[in-house]
Every structure is written in structure tokens, then in C-alpha cells.
Symmetry: C2
Subunit: 191 residues, 2 copies
């Protein structure tokens, strides 16, 4: 099933469309395949293991992060999960309402909030993670063990590079142009 066009066909169409334009095909293929793979894998995991527990992807990722690290301050949870703090507030609320997560104040710094799994949350993750990992094995089936390692290592380098240099790069790109205000978002109380 799947689709009308294979990846190979898409890449050929790009070549045809952009034949005249000078562009960096290898990097384009690498980046776009990262997103294709991420989407396909996410969909598979959502519709296999996650669905049976009625967890969303983001909900699972948040639980996973907190599970791995134990108690964790919310700001770091958001960062590790790759979502904004505002979103985390809502997701955490959902997970709390299901009794999987709890929120604690920080003992010494009253500004901080700390997340921790409830016993139910721990139990769920202990049950769910092996199944999740089985599907990670399934999706990695076409890779040799050494290839999986090499893949992970290359991606790690890309992430590290972005963490180290991404912000500066974006600043350089913007230069002195001021970003237009976003189409949506809360407005200043009063001009």
C-alpha cells in the first residue's frame, strides 16, 4: 500500500524539476529521508504499541523522558522531549489526569516544578517499553547491526552540530532584518 510514488521516483522527479537549478542533492536526500523515516516510524509506533494504551506520541515521549531520568524539572523535560514549555504544561496536565504523572514542587527553589511518574506510570512504562523496543527492532530490520550504529552516530553528529551552531547560524542568516510578527499569537495588551 503505500503510495503512489516511491522515494526513488520522487528523487527522480526532483531531478527533472530542478535539473537547471544548482543544488546539493546528497544533503537534500539525507534530510528529506530523515523526515520521511521519522514520520513513517512514528506512525507505525502510534498505531501499534501506543494506540493500545491510548497514548499520543508526545505523551509517550514525555513519559519516557521522565521515566529514564527519574524526577526531572519541567524545563528540562520540555527540552528533552523537543516541545515548548507551554505545550508541556498541557501535556503534563493530560498525563496527570490519567494518573500517570505527578507534579512536585522543588524543595529548595520554589520556582521550580518537578515531574515524576506515579506507580501506575512506572508500571505502564515497564510494560510498554519492551513492546516499543520490539517495534524499534522491527523498523530497523533492514539494517545490519553495524549500520544501525553508524546511522545513530551520524545523526548524533548532526544533532550535536545543530545544538552547537544552530543558533549562531540563524542569527547570521537573519542579519539585521527584523522578523515579521507571527501571524498568530497573543498581542500586546495595548498599543
Amino acid at each position: 500500500m503505500s503510495g503512489h510514488h516511491t522515494i526513488a521516483e520522487t528523487e527522480k522527479a526532483v531531478q527533472a524539476k530542478l535539473g537547471a537549478v544548482p543544488l546539493h542533492r546528497e544533503q537534500m536526500a539525507a534530510v528529506s529521508n530523515i523526515h520521511r523515516a521519522a514520520t513513517a516510524i512514528r506512525q507505525h509506533l502510534e498505531n501499534s504499541v501506543l494506540r493500545t494504551s491510548d497514548l499520543t506520541w508526545t505523551g509517550f515521549v514525555v513519559l519516557w523522558v521522565v521515566w529514564i531520568w527519574g524526577e526531572m524539572e519541567t524545563r528540562y523535560v520540555a527540552e528533552e522531549a523537543g516541545i515548548s514549555k507551554g505545550t508541556l504544561t498541557g501535556v503534563a496536565k493530560t498525563l496527570q489526569s490519567r494518573g500517570l504523572l505527578e507534579r512536585l514542587g522543588h524543595p529548595t527553589d520554589g520556582r521550580l516544578a518537578v515531574l515524576r511518574l506515579t506507580p501506575e506510570g512506572e508500571e505502564l512504562m515497564a510494560d510498554l517499553f519492551p513492546k516499543f523496543n520490539e517495534e524499534e527492532v522491527f523498523v530497523s530490520d533492514p539494517l545490519e547491526s553495524s549500520e544501525a550504529q553508524s546511522l545513530a552516530e551520524m545523526l548524533r553528529r548532526m544533532v550535536t552540530h545543530l545544538e552547537a551552531n544552530g543558533e549562531q547560524r540563524r542569527l547570521d542568516l537573519r542579519g539585521d532584518t527584523v522578523l515579521p510578527p507571527r501571524r498568530s499569537g497573543r498581542r500586546a495588551k495595548h498599543g
Copy 2:
């Protein structure tokens, strides 16, 4: 900036947490790094090139797909873009309202709708894509040319594998258990 924990630290914490649990670490690292990389790259691209045109990631992907393939039936656009057809309806509406995309009926089959870029959309993509590609080069900076190729090729294999075998796998996993209804989503008009 960036984070509290590096990927290496995270993998170490996983090892500590899951030391006793038998699991497949290589595949886990590969899959989770795919998602980390996809998120980081997406955020970089959104906050550099896309932001200046006030395009969302999904909006850009849809434009890109239609741009590459020319006129395209909506069902295929959704599939190529990795979103559901319901989502595409909304996204296409947004892009239409900005004058970047147009919707045409199919001449012989009244059920079909076809998407095509407007001249403004063509112009935008011709301007935007080279910039986008430059950032793809930037994020791929830590990869040798041969590595980028190998990365793309491995991911392509994973996607192909999922397209070919994912659905069957999910069916096998479900077995005869019936999925619980989703927490959200439209309900039957009447029990």
C-alpha cells in the same frame, strides 16, 4: 543553550535505568536519534528560512510536493506529505487563502480534486527552495558526502520496509484484540 543533557548522556542514563532489562540498544539509539535529528532539523528550518515567509513546516512540505510533481490529486499529496487527508483539507485551505495554491476539479472524475501552485506559489518556491537547500547543507555539515549518501540510503530502506510490511505487522500485533476507541475524534451520530 541547548540542553541539559547531551545524547551521549541520555544513552548512558538509559543504560543505567534499563541495565537489567534485556533490550536492543542499537536499534533504540538509531530510532530515537532519527526523531531527535528530525525535530532539531525541523526547528532549525522553521526558524530560519520558513519563518521569514511565515510558512509552517507542513505548509512548506505540501507546497514542495505540489511544486515537484506539478498538478497532483489531493490523495497523493497527503500521502507524499505524510499527513492525513483530513489534515490536507485544512492545510490546503490555508495555502489557498494566501494565494499560493489552487484547487481544480478533475475533468472526468467528479470525486477528485487536483492541487496546483499559483504563479505566486511558483515564485515563492523558486525563491525559497535554494535557501532551504542551503540549510540542508548546513545541517549536514558534519557528514562526508559518502556518509550523507549512506545515511539517505539506510533511511530509504527503512521507509521501504515499513511501506511494504508495516500494515501486516500491525495486524499481527493486534491479533484479535479490538482497538479501544480513540479518546478524541468524531462520535457516531447516535448510538
